[in-house]
């Protein structure tokens, strides 16, 4: 099993209502950066980098970064910059990007170059992940949503070719043209870094990932719909003549650990506080119905079970059980209202119950993680921690306990349940991979 740590790196401003606030609405693309303080940004970027280093020291196999644009809930607008720094200041952890928003790159060769550079500086520790992005990303970088899926696929094909074929060559695609592709850099790993595909909504993407035998990572979705989505992956795998195993499946979920249950309960609540991801269940913010529904961005008839419920519920501040699939489209002109503090409390308890959030002492958390692993059988997991309104101190306490208690126990469980990661079993061949210490041996296809 590969165990990683993740945080969205929220922009926490103690001076503003975003930090620890329960009443202030954060709606998608509704906040002016007039309120952005670069001194605070400097503190936060450095804090989050320090925490990634601490995660390595605690024994995590990987640290994961994500990318969003023009939003306070994630500071990863130039995630490759953070990854490049981590490549230099960490020694062992895999640096997982989940992921670069492919369709918004007008020049994907530049992205291929950046990623190859990160892979070299880290001596082969990059795991690259590619996403289609939300409406926010298309708007923020002005990428045409009707061509989002086409651009995703073409940029993918192009980058793989730029990494694996000797140059120079010419590329004349539907969306990208190059007269001279010959980057003076190559990924350290052969033939290229492993590719992981994260998602929550699009069925197309699961199908595509399964067709390419790329591990698919579900992002903090409820267990039942997540299981259905993985079933769909396995189904597509069968149609493509192979058996999908734990090595093809990844899951990100919220875990926070403290010395006492009381403290864990209180600090865990901060997942839902502060500028949390508005697309995820229990968020205090609201997604814009317009941005969710940009023209041609997503085929709405082609959503996963999680897409039909979780993300819409999050956008409306309602419990998933209230939301019928038919309601998946936001009502005409309706701007969802943020839920008040009492609703948040109820929401939090519900999430603790359905394991969307796991918070507790190591003793109470480990059996819950076991349940998740037994239910989904992923070979790769990421603990999502230190987010929302959590402070550096909150993060560090949890990291320490994860290192001393949780990680060793979870490794034992994974071994018992036989959950190999995509670095133990090759997702392309389903053959065991040589477990070498040196980097460079564990590339993708």
């Amino acid at each position: 099993m590969l165990i990683g740590r993740f945080t969205e790196r929220p922009y926490q401003d103690p001076e503003s209502g975003y930090f620890g606030a329960t009443g202030r609405a954060i709606q998608d693309l509704s906040i002016s950066n007039a309120e952005y303080d670069p001194r605070l940004g400097a503190d936060l970027y450095n804090r989050y980098l320090d925490e990634q280093v601490a995660a390595e020291e605690a024994g995590f196999d990987a640290v994961m970064l994500n990318e969003h644009h023009s939003t306070p809930f994630c500071m990863g607008g130039t995630v490759n910059t953070e990854a490049a720094i981590l490549a230099r200041i960490t020694d062992k952890v895999k640096i997982v990007l989940n992921g670069n928003v492919l369709p918004i790159w007008d020049d994907p060769l530049w992205l291929a170059e950046e990623l190859a550079t990160i892979d070299m500086i880290s001596r082969g520790r990059l795991v690259t992940g590619w996403v289609r992005g939300t409406g926010r990303e298309s708007i923020a970088h002005n990428a045409p949503p009707p061509f989002n899926w086409e651009r995703f696929q073409e940029a993918h094909d192009f980058i793989i070719k730029a990494w694996t074929d000797d140059g120079p060559f010419r590329w004349e695609g539907e969306h990208y043209d190059y007269r001279y592709v010959n980057p003076w850099m190559k990924p350290y790993q052969t033939p290229h870094p492993q590719i992981m595909i994260p998602g929550v909504v699009s069925k197309n993407t699961v199908k595509w990932a399964a067709e390419h035998r790329y591990p698919y990572l579900m992002l903090s979705t409820r267990l039942e719909p997540t299981k259905l989505s993985f079933d769909y992956y396995r189904e597509v795998a069968k149609e493509n003549g192979y058996e999908a195993g734990p090595q093809h499946i990844g899951y990100l979920f919220k875990v926070h650990v403290e010395e006492t249950e009381e403290l864990a309960y209180e600090v865990g609540k901060k997942f839902l506080d502060g500028p949390g991801n508005i697309f995820l269940e229990g968020s205090r913010g609201t997604a814009s119905p317009v941005l969710q529904n940009l023209p041609g961005l997503t085929d709405r008839k082609n959503l996963l079970p999680t897409g039909q419920v979780g993300f819409v519920a999050a956008s409306r501040g309602r419990d998933v059980s209230d939301v019928a699939p038919a309601e998946a489209e936001a009502k005409d002109g309706a701007v969802p209202k943020p839920a008040g503090a009492p609703a948040m409390q109820a929401d939090y308890d519900t999430q603790l119950e359905n394991l969307t959030i796991i918070a507790g002492t190591p003793d109470s958390v480990i059996p819950k993680i076991r349940h998740v692993l037994e239910t989904l059988r992923p070979g790769t997991i990421f603990f999502w921690d230190g987010d929302g309104a959590m402070t550096h101190e909150d993060s560090m306490r949890s990291l320490k306990l994860m290192g001393s208690d949780v990680l060793p126990a979870v490794r034992d469980i994974a071994a018992e349940l036989d959950l190999p990661s995509s670095f133990e079993v090759n997702t392309m061949t389903n053959e065991p991979m040589p477990q070498l210490e040196e980097a460079g041996a564990a590339g993708g296809d």
Binding site: P144, P146, P289, V290, P295
Partner: protein, 263 residues
Amino acid sequence: MTTETAIASQRRVIPVAGLDLHLREGGDGPPIVILHRSTGTLGWDTLEKKLAERFRVISPDLPGFGESERPDWAREPRDIALLVARMLERLELTDITLVGLGFGGFVAAELATANEERLKSLVLVGAAGIKPREGEIVDQMLIEHGIYVRQGLNDEADYEARFGSELHADIKDIWEFSRIMTARVSWSPYMFSRRLAPLLSEVKAPSLVVWGENDRIIPRDSGQQYVEGLSDARLEVVSGAGHIVEWDAPEQLAELIAAQAAG
């Protein structure tokens, strides 16, 4: 909303460049071709009916809108204009009064700059296509459909009169579907082309530029630039109308178009 019409319309399909392009036509007389907005067309409406009393009115679903097949390769309104021009050729129409509403005006202007042989005159109604020197064209991509259409009206209260308090799912579908094609050809730059204005002086056809007095979607300066750029054009401002002149003042617009077509 609309009343029963004396002049019936019928649908036709014209194949162009491997695409089935649909149009609706009705009435007899000199031809008037009406190109619809980015929100698509909701059918044979008051403007068409009025004009069909005296003219042969042809209202195509622009390629990629309504029932007309989508040209996957189209990337700008000029591509749409080329297909519409071929459609008019296939129909063997001459002395056309070409009317463009909003985005349709953008397409009409592109068509006229490419070839105006078949045109008798041009009518641009709140037409997109030119970047205003002051102000900005309202970006529908950031606005929910109903709110966008409301902003297009002189009096927002008319929206409910027209669509009721709950928008019919079919109309919402049309708006959502239309926006996809709009985004495919006009995502960036939004609703104008830097390559259109320099060609306008080549258009010799008498042109009428119509603007709603209370247009809150496209600044009137865009219309003013059309008037300055086209070689024979005048501006007509319709009082009591917003951007969607054919809904706010259909009779008055029909009169303006008829006069232009007869002139």
